[in-house]
C-alpha cells in the first residue's frame, strides 16, 4: 500500500534525534491521529541550518517527518513556514487515503518550532491557521 519511497524513507529515516543547542523546538500531535512528533531546529541567519526529529507513529508519520526535515534544510524560515502537506506528500510519492492525515504532523511541528524560535528572539509569532486535517487550509491535497 505504501510507495517504495515511503518504505525507503521509513526504513532509513534521516535526521532522527535531538539538537542540544536547538534554536527552536516544536511538538505536534494531530488531535485526530494519535501520532506525535517533536522537532529541533538550528537557525543560521534567516535559514535552517540543521533539523532533527523524534516521532511516535505509523510508517507514514515517520517517513513524512524524515522527508520534511530534509526538505527544510537550507530554507529561509518563511519558506519552511509555508511548506505544505501536499509538498511532503509529493516528496513521498503519495500516501494511501487513510494515511494522508498522518503526514500533517511534520509541517505542523515545523511551524510550532519556527514560532518557538521567533518568540525566543522576542519576535511576534506568525499566525498559524489551525489545521483540523479537514483539507480546507490549503495544506491538504485537494479532495476528489
Amino acid at each position: 500500500m505504501y510507495t517504495e519511497k515511503v518504505i525507503e524513507e521509513f526504513t532509513n529515516p534521516q535526521n532522527v534525534g535531538e539538537l542540544a543547542d536547538a534554536d527552536g523546538v516544536g511538538e505536534a500531535g494531530s488531535p485526530t491521529c494519535g501520532d506525535t512528533m517533536k522537532i529541533y531546529l538550528k537557525v543560521e541567519g534567516d535559514r535552517i541550518a540543521d533539523a532533527r526529529f523524534r516521532t511516535f507513529g505509523c510508517a507514514a508519520a515517520i517517513a513524512s517527518s524524515s522527508v520534511a526535515t530534509r526538505m527544510i534544510l537550507g530554507m529561509t524560515l518563511a519558506e519552511a513556514w509555508s511548506l505544505s502537506n501536499a509538498e511532503v506528500l509529493d516528496a513521498l510519492g503519495g500516501l494511501p487515503e487513510p494515511k494522508v492525515h498522518c503526514s500533517l504532523l511534520a509541517p505542523d511541528a515545523i511551524r510550532v518550532a519556527i514560532n518557538d524560535y521567533r518568540v525566543r528572539r522576542g519576535l511576534e509569532p506568525w499566525e498559524r491557521k489551525s489545521c483540523s486535517g479537514g483539507g480546507d487550509c490549503g495544506s491538504c491535497p485537494k479532495k476528489g
Binding site: T11, V16, G34, D35, M37, R54, C58, P98, H101
Partner: protein, 399 residues
C-alpha cells in the same frame, strides 16, 4: 537494516493459513472432473454429492454434531451473520435482546450493530484484564426479552479462550440460545457441542489449513433460524447457492486433519510459543504479554511495547521477512487501537504498540530464534525514533 532479505517467515496464522497439500489433493478431482452440480439427478452428480456429504460428516465429527446439523457457508463471517441475524429474525416474537461480549470479531459486532438499527437491543459485556467473559455477567445481562447469547470460543487477537461451556449453561438455564464463534478455536480447542451447551457454532476453513471462502454453521437440530441467503433448495433449503464442491471437500479434509490430534499439536506449538514469549519479554524492557497467561490459544502471542506504534513494528519486521500483525491501524484519519486491547484495559498508547505473532504448522524453532534476534533490534530502533521513550529503555539489551 535495509537488507530486504529473501526469507519469508510467516507468523500470522490467525489471519490465514496456507492450504495443506492433502487438502488440495482432496479438492483436485472436483474442479474439472467431478464438477457436476450436486443437486442434479444424474449419476454424474453422485461424486460431487458424495463429496459434499462426506465433508459434512467430517465437520460434524470434529465438533460432536450430527451431519444434518452442519450447513456450509462461504466463510466464518457469513456463518456469524447467519447465526445472529437468523436467530434474531426468527425469534423476534419471543424477544429482541442479544447478549455478546465487547471483544467479539467484527463479523459478530457489526452484525449486532445492524440488528440494533433494526430495533433489537444488544448488551456488550465487558471482559477482565485477560479478556475473559464472566459467566455471572452473562447471567445478570439476560432478561426475559433475551433470545441469544453469542460469545466466541477463542479470541483472534489475544488468543483468550472463553469459558464457553459455562456461558452456554447459563444461557440454557434461562432458555436462551447460545452461539459461539469458533473460527479461531478449531484444531486448537476440543469442541463438543453437546457437552459445551452450544446451539450454533461458526467456523472458517482458511484458519485451519483449508480453503479460503469456505465455512460452516452448526445449527442444533430444531433451532429456529431464519435463512440469510435465499434462493435454490441447497443445504436442505436453508442456505441457497450452488455448492462450492471443491471448497467443501477441502474444508472437510482440513478439519479432519486439524482435529486428529489437537493435544499433540498444541503441545508442539505451545512449546515454541512459550520460548518466544519468554525470550521477548526478557529481551525487551517495557513490554507485556496481552491475553490470558494460560487460558489462551497455543499458537498466540500478543505483546505491547511501550513508546512505539504497531504498524511501524510490522513494517520493520516485514523488511526482515517476518509476517506479523498488530491491533493498531490508521483508519479515516485517526490512529485506532483495537477494540479488544481497549476492552482488556490497555491505555491507548500501549494498545497502539501491539504485536501479534501466531504460530502455525510450518514454523520451527529456527523461526523462533530469528524473531528473537530481529524483534529487539526493531523495537530498539523505533524507540530511538520515538519522542516518548524515556532515556533508559530506548535501546534493549540485545543491541
Amino acid at each position: 537494516m535495509n537488507d530486504l532479505e529473501e526469507r519469508t517467515l510467516y507468523m500470522d496464522h490467525a489471519a490465514t493459513t496456507f492450504m495443506k497439500p492433502e487438502v488440495l489433493a482432496a479438492m483436485a478431482p472436483y474442479f474439472s472432473e467431478h464438477f457436476g452440480n450436486p443437486s442434479s439427478l444424474y449419476r454424474f452428480a453422485g461424486e460431487p454429492r458424495n463429496g459434499v456429504e462426506a465433508a459434512r460428516g467430517q465437520v460434524a465429527a470434529a465438533i460432536g454434531a450430527g451431519p444434518e446439523e452442519i450447513f456450509f457457508t462461504a466463510g466464518g463471517t457469513e456463518a456469524d451473520n447467519w447465526a445472529i441475524k437468523g436467530v434474531a429474525l426468527a425469534n423476534r416474537k419471543h424477544g429482541d435482546h442479544i447478549v455478546t461480549s465487547a471483544i467479539e470479531h467484527h463479523a459478530v459486532l457489526h452484525t449486532c450493530e445492524w440488528l440494533e438499527r433494526q430495533g433489537f437491543s444488544v448488551t456488550y459485556l465487558p471482559v477482565d484484564e485477560f479478556g475473559r467473559v464472566d459467566p455471572g455477567d452473562v447471567e445478570e445481562a439476560i432478561t426475559d426479552r433475551t433470545i441469544l447469547v453469542s460469545a466466541m470460543t477463542a479470541n483472534n487477537e489475544i488468543g483468550t479462550i472463553q469459558p464457553v461451556a459455562e456461558i452456554g449453561r447459563v444461557a440454557h438455564d434461562h432458555g436462551v440460545l447460545f452461539h459461539t464463534d469458533a473460527v479461531q478455536a478449531i484444531g486448537a480447542v476440543p469442541i463438543d457441542v453437546d457437552a459445551m451447551n452450544i446451539d450454533l457454532l461458526s467456523l472458517s476453513g482458511h484458519k485451519f489449513y483449508g480453503p479460503k471462502g469456505t465455512g460452516a454453521l452448526y445449527i442444533r437440530r430444531g433451532t429456529r433460524v431464519e435463512t440469510l441467503i435465499h434462493g435454490g433448495g441447497q443445504e436442505r433449503r436453508r442456505r441457497a447457492g450452488t455448492e462450492n464442491v471443491p471448497g467443501i471437500v477441502g474444508l472437510g479434509r482440513a478439519i479432519e486433519l486439524a482435529t486428529a490430534d489437537i493435544a499433540g499439536h498444541n503441545r508442539r506449538i505451545a512449546s515454541m510459543r512459550d520460548r518466544l514469549v519468554r525470550g521477548i519479554l526478557d529481551a525487551i524492557p517495557d513490554s507485556r504479554l496481552n491475553g490470558h497467561p494460560t487460558e489462551r490459544l497455543a499458537n498466540n502471542a500478543n505483546f505491547s511495547f511501550r513508546y512505539v506504534e504497531g504498524e511501524s513494528i510490522l513494517l520493520l519486521l516485514n523488511a526482515r521477512g517476518i509476517c506479523a500483525s498488530t491491533g493498531s491501524a490508521c483508519s479515516s484519519g485517526s490512529l485506532e487501537p483495537s477494540h479488544v486491547l481497549l476492552a482488556i484495559g490497555l491505555p491507548h498508547e500501549e494498545a497502539h504498540g501491539s504485536l501479534r505473532l501466531t504460530l502455525g504448522d510450518a514454523n520451527t524453532e529456527d523461526d523462533v530464534d530469528y524473531v528473537l534476534e530481529v524483534l529487539p533490534e526493531v523495537i530498539g530502533r523505533l524507540r530511538e525514533i520515538s519522542p516518548l521513550t524515556p532515556p533508559s529503555p530506548r535501546v534493549p539489551e540485545a543491541e
